[in-house]
């Protein structure tokens, strides 16, 4: 194996992992903090992808600039969804377990609703566009520019979010809520608002991932489920509620995926699940789980 191949696999893995990490951080916030296992996570990815597609092809807005438009819109959708639905569910549920199963069911409903609305709005057709689709040479290994840019944004968004969590008041409130919602609310944190913000931010990250994905993957209204599954796997691998865990888990899964594709593509998905399940048996609480 020569150096270029190693670079191919290593950087290729990072490129794949970057998107996975972004996908997973969003879900990690929603599940790790707000305790909503959002099966409709992929639908927010789809919304982000379609929004970017439409803004780019219809209005010629640079796909990367659409992040600024997609972000606030999806945040509002997510925030309101939590305020109107999940807050009520949380208050009316007798136990955290009951809340989890009820919210799981509710997100299935949301999945159906969003997907159907997308079908009505955009039609069932597959859509794709080409943006920054040229090769960039990194030490002999060539990568498409749109993937490198995606990775850059994924890391940037991840870091910005981490700083937000560590440095800001709201970030601290979120971390407190993740630890123990009851205590956090005793300490004067407006827990419902914090959880709604978490849910909204989680949706935004899904939307961002959708924007970045749309630059290189054909999109359609039914695309979401696969990404939801990837995101769930990553957060489980990383350890529930651990944002760094999700970030690292994303990259690990990306590299595993790339390595197995290199070795035997037809078994890549099988190998992928096998390794994941093996890791889970060795570390039943995820890589950074406690």
């Amino acid at each position: 194996m020569d150096l270029v191949t190693i670079l191919d696999i290593a950087i290729g893995g990072l490129l794949m992992g970057g998107i996975y990490a972004l996908l997973a951080m969003g879900l990690s916030l929603q599940y790790g903090v707000a305790r909503v296992l959002n099966i409709a996570h992929g639908e927010f990815i789809m919304l982000g992808a379609f929004a970017t597609y439409t803004l780019y092809t219809a209005f010629g807005i640079n796909p990367l600039l659409t992040l600024a438009i997609v972000g606030p819109i999806i945040f509002i959708i997510g925030f309101l969804l939590h305020r109107t639905l999940f807050t009520r569910l949380r208050i009316s549920s007798p136990s955290p377990g009951a809340f989890e199963s009820r919210s799981l069911l509710a997100t299935f409903g949301i999945l159906f609703i969003i997907q159907n609305l997308a079908l009505i709005g955009w039609g069932a057709n597959l859509r794709a566009y080409s943006y920054l689709n040229f090769g960039v040479n990194l030490g002999g290994a060539i990568f498409t520019a749109n993937r490198l840019v995606s990775l850059g944004f994924a890391i940037g968004i991840g870091l910005a979010f981490y700083i937000f969590l560590v440095r800001t008041r709201m970030g601290k409130a979120i971390r407190a809520a993740a630890q123990d919602p009851a205590t956090a609310s005793l300490m004067g944190v407006n827990i419902n608002r914090v959880l709604a913000i978490c849910f909204g931010l989680g949706a935004v990250m899904a939307g961002f991932a959708g924007t970045l994905l749309s630059m290189r993957v054909p999109i359609n209204p039914a695309m979401g489920m696969n990404y939801t599954i990837i995101a769930i796997i990553v957060i489980v691998l990383g350890g529930l509620g651990s944002i760094p865990g999700s970030f690292i888990g994303g990259f690990i899964l990306g590299i595993i995926g790339t390595v197995v594709t290199y070795i035997e593509p037809s078994l890549s998905l099988a190998a992928y699940y096998f390794i994941f399940m093996l890791l889970l048996l060795v570390r039943p609480k995820g890589i950074l789980g406690k």
Binding site: D8, I9, G12, L15, M16, T57, Q115, N116, L119, G123, A124, N125, L126, R127, A128, Y129, S130, Y131, N133, F134, G135, I142, F143, T144, A145, R147, R216, V217, P218, N220, P221, A222, N226, G257, T258, T261, Y262, P265, S266, S268, L269
Partner: protein, 428 residues
């Protein structure tokens, strides 16, 4: 109080949602029909992954036919002594085979539709064919076709397959074209499903026949997204011919990566996917209308094939976006409705057995020209004969899919010469 009211309201709604259709469908006996329309039933993927195929392929043909027939007052059916308009009864199978099977049986047993239209996707048709056959409903299949289905036709007298597929007669034609140009090596990427396996398998046989070496045949799972490693591997192998036997989610990323990584084999074939308008539209913004020139696809006809095809595509373009035009499937879906119409008008009945025998034994005059099915033995089903095919292989040239390959029979219309090697990918 409001809570109580709401609670009651929801209960009533839930009960009503369940009870009303139950009653309307089973409690009230259907009145003896005074026939005033031909009811055509179909279980189609209106949601889920296959919706993107169904919506673009047979869907618009169905819509156009309904408008055309009903504008003319309907189809004359001698049994009823009058013209009957057509009426669709379409259910959503949500891209689930189990649901499709059940809804097909509902259409047949409960709705007692006059005609059954095809479901969408090879696996779906494979499951639908035995069901339609069991109840004696003629099934002219649309989006799908495979060798396993042809093999099953011997026991399925009511089933007629229209769409051409791998060895019938796409890949043999393709292999001969390559041999004529002196291609020596090939590299295949295929999706791990029955379509990918069939095409890669048949291609291996056909390539061997004409002396093309198969360097590699790589199969990928349906969720594979990153094709860079495979394209890099292919580039290193430097084959003359590169084949992507997958769907748009594989075909488009493979094309994009090939462009970006500078992989430009002498021949690049991809499908199904490259035969659709959106293949070009994906790159048109960045690279101009000639963005995918040189890429080959499975395609039968274009506007230059005949005035009828020009009209068909113009009509289609009036109701769907040009990105949805399909140069492979539409030429075969459009004749389906023509065959139905002719069979009903000529036999003057909606009786499935009579219609089946008529379709099995007659030649039809459709936009394909002389159109007929080859029957699989005595009690078998039909396969649209290869001599009906107007073409097998297309190539993007100057932003248009030209027909560059077809069988040596009279219906074939080659619209342009096969360009080999393909021109380099355009640069932005």
């Amino acid at each position: 109080m409001t809570k109580k009211l709401l609670f009651g309201l929801i209960t009533i709604t839930l009960v009503a949602l369940v009870a009303v259709p139950l009653c309307s469908s089973s409690c009230v006996p259907a009145p003896a029909p005074a026939k005033d329309s031909i009811v055509i039933g179909a279980s189609r993927p209106l949601s889920g992954m296959n919706a993107m195929i169904g919506d673009a392929a047979f869907g618009p043909i169905m819509t156009m036919w309904e408008e055309e027939v009903n504008a003319a007052g309907g189809i004359y059916v001698a049994d009823y002594g009058k013209k009957l308009p057509i009426e669709y009864l379409i259910y959503d199978d949500a891209t689930d085979v189990g649901t499709m099977v059940r809804l097909t049986e509902k259409l047949i047993l409960e709705d007692k539709v006059d005609i059954l239209f095809s479901s969408c996707g090879t696996a779906f048709i494979s499951a639908q064919a035995p069901i339609a056959n069991k109840y004696g409903y003629v099934l002219l299949t649309a989006e799908g076709g495979a060798t396993i289905m042809r093999d099953a036709l011997y026991g399925l007298p009511y089933v007629f397959i229209s769409l051409p597929f791998s060895d019938h007669y796409q890949l043999p034609v393709f292999a001969d074209m390559l041999a004529a140009k002196g291609a020596k090596t090939a590299y295949i990427v295929s999706i791990a499903d029955l379509h990918g396996v069939e095409y890669s398998g048949v291609a291996a046989i056909e390539f061997a026949r004409v002396g093309i070496d198969l360097i590699a045949s790589v199969s990928v799972p349906e969720t594979q997204e990153d094709f860079s490693i495979i394209i890099k591997d292919a580039k290193a192998a430097n084959p003359d011919v590169f084949c992507v036997f997958g769907y748009p989610p594989q075909v488009l990323p493979c094309t994009a990566e090939s462009m970006a990584l500078g992989f430009n084999p002498k021949c690049f074939i991809a499908g199904p996917g490259a035969n659709f308008g959106f293949y070009q539209f994906t790159f048109i913004e960045a690279l101009g209308p000639n963005c995918v020139d040189g890429v080959l696809c499975f395609a039968a006809a274009n506007r230059a094939t005949s005035p009828e095809f020009a009209e068909l595509y113009d009509d289609l373009e009036a109701i769907v976006s040009p990105a949805m035009l399909d140069w492979w499937g539409h030429p075969y879906y459009a004749p389906l409705v023509q065959i139905w119409q002719e069979a009903i008008e000529e036999t003057g009945t909606l009786d499935q057995d009579i219609l089946r025998d008529y379709i099995a034994t007659h030649h039809f005059d459709t936009i394909l020209g002389d159109t007929y099915f080859e029957m699989s033995g005595e009690g078998g089903g039909g396969l649209l004969v290869k001599e009906t095919h107007p073409g097998e292989i297309g190539q993007w040239q100057n932003g248009v899919v030209e027909i560059v390959g077809g069988g040596p029979w009279s219906n074939t219309v080659i619209t342009a010469d096969f360009i080999y090697p393909k021109p380099p990918w355009p640069t932005p």
